[in-house]
Symmetry: C2
Subunit: 247 residues, 2 copies
Amino acid sequence: MSATTTRFPRAILFDAYGTLFDVHSVLAQAEQLFPGHGDALSQLWRQKQIEYSQLRTLADPAGSHYRPFWGITLDALQYAARKLGLPLDTVGEKRLMDEYACLSAYPDVIAALRTLRERRRTAGAAQLALGILSNGNPQMLDIAVKSAGMTGLFDRVLSVDAVRAYKPAAAAYALGTRAFNVSAREIVFVSSNGWDVAGAGWFGYTTFWINRANTPAEVLGIAPRGTGSGMADLLAFIDTLAAPEQP
Amino acid sequence: MSATTTRFPRAILFDAYGTLFDVHSVLAQAEQLFPGHGDALSQLWRQKQIEYSQLRTLADPAGSHYRPFWGITLDALQYAARKLGLPLDTVGEKRLMDEYACLSAYPDVIAALRTLRERRRTAGAAQLALGILSNGNPQMLDIAVKSAGMTGLFDRVLSVDAVRAYKPAAAAYALGTRAFNVSAREIVFVSSNGWDVAGAGWFGYTTFWINRANTPAEVLGIAPRGTGSGMADLLAFIDTLAAPEQP
C-alpha cells in the first residue's frame, strides 16, 4: 500500500439498474412495438417498477408482500401498457421482458470498473473491493452481469432478495456493510437514482450520485457527498477521498 | 336499529387528498403562473409528494426521517418546478401552497357524507362512524376540512403524524382500527389512490376504490373489495354490505 493513500474508501458499491445497466435501452424495442410511444412506455414502466417495489416493502418491511424484482418488473410493464392504452399481447410482453433481461451497460461503465480493479491490484487485495447492491433478484443479476460483459469485475453481487426488503429500507443497505465487514462510511455507494442516493446517505454510506440525465437534486434534506455526470467523475471523486488528509 | 340491517360495516374511513379533496384544483393557479405547464406541474407535484412521503417512511419506519406532510408538499413543489424548468419564485410558491391549503372538495363529496350521516342518525349512534385517515398533518387537515365545508361531518380526523409513518405503513392504517375500536374488516376504507387501496387491503380493511379518472387497476396482487367512479357508487356499495345475509 502506498504511503500517500489512506485506507478510505474500503469498497465501492454500485446500484445496478439505471446506474450500470441502462434501463432505457429497452426503448428501441418498445418504440418498434408501439411507434411514437416507446419513450413514454419505457419511462412509466421504470417509474411503476420502483413504486411497486417500495410499496410492497413499506406495507411490511418483514417481507410478507415481497415479490422478486423480475415479477415486479412484469407487473409494472403490464400496468404501464394499460395506462397508456397500448395493446400489449404476450408476444410483445415477452420481447420487452427479454430485452430487460439483457440490458446494455452505459458506455463508460466497463472501462471505469477495469480501472478501479487495476488500482485495487496495485494497492493490495484489502483495498477497494467492488460490489453491486441491487433490487434485482439473483437470477436477474446473474444474467445481466454476464450479458453486459461484467463477469469477474465484482467481488460481490448482492441482491436485496436475501432480506426480502427493497431499497431504501435499511435492511437492504445493511447487506453491503455485512458483506464487506466495514462501516458504512468507508463504503462509497454509487447510484444514478436520487432516491437511492438519499436512502444510502441516510443509512450512512459515503454517497456518489451519477446524474447522467442532468436532473435536479431530490429535495429530501440530504445531499450526496459527490456528484458527477458519469464514471469519469466517480474516478476523480475516489481519488479525492483516497488522497492523504491535509496536515 | 332496524331489524333488517346487520352491524357491518361499523365505520367508513376516507383518504383525504385525491379522494375528498381535489389535489388538481391547484391546476388553475399553476396554469396562471406557468401557461401551458399547469397540468404537468400539478401532476408531477402530486407524484413527488407521494414518493417523498413513502421514501422517508421506508428508510426508517420508526420515523427518524419523518417530515410533516406540509413540508413534504413544499419539497415536492420545488422539485417539480425545477424538473420542468419553471422559474418558481417565493411569491409563486406561496400562491400555490396557499391554494393547496384550501383545496376544493370533489362535487359529489358533501352530499354523500350528509347522506351517510343521516343514515347513521336513523340507525343509532353506534352504527357507521365516519372518519378521515390521511397523510396530512393535523393543521393541514383542520384547514382543509373547514375550507371545503366539511366541518362536523366526521367523527374522527386521523393524521399519520401521530405515528410519524406514512401510508401504506401498517402503523398508519392501525390508527383507524384503534380510533374506532373495531376490526379492520368492519371498516370500509375509501381511497382514490390505487396504492392506498392496496395498502389498506393488505392491512385488512374492506376497501373501496373511487376510480374517478378511470385509470387501470394497480398490478399489486390485491384487488379492492368494491370499485366505482364516485361517491354514489360508494353509497350503493355500503348498501350491499349492510343488507342482511341471505339465509
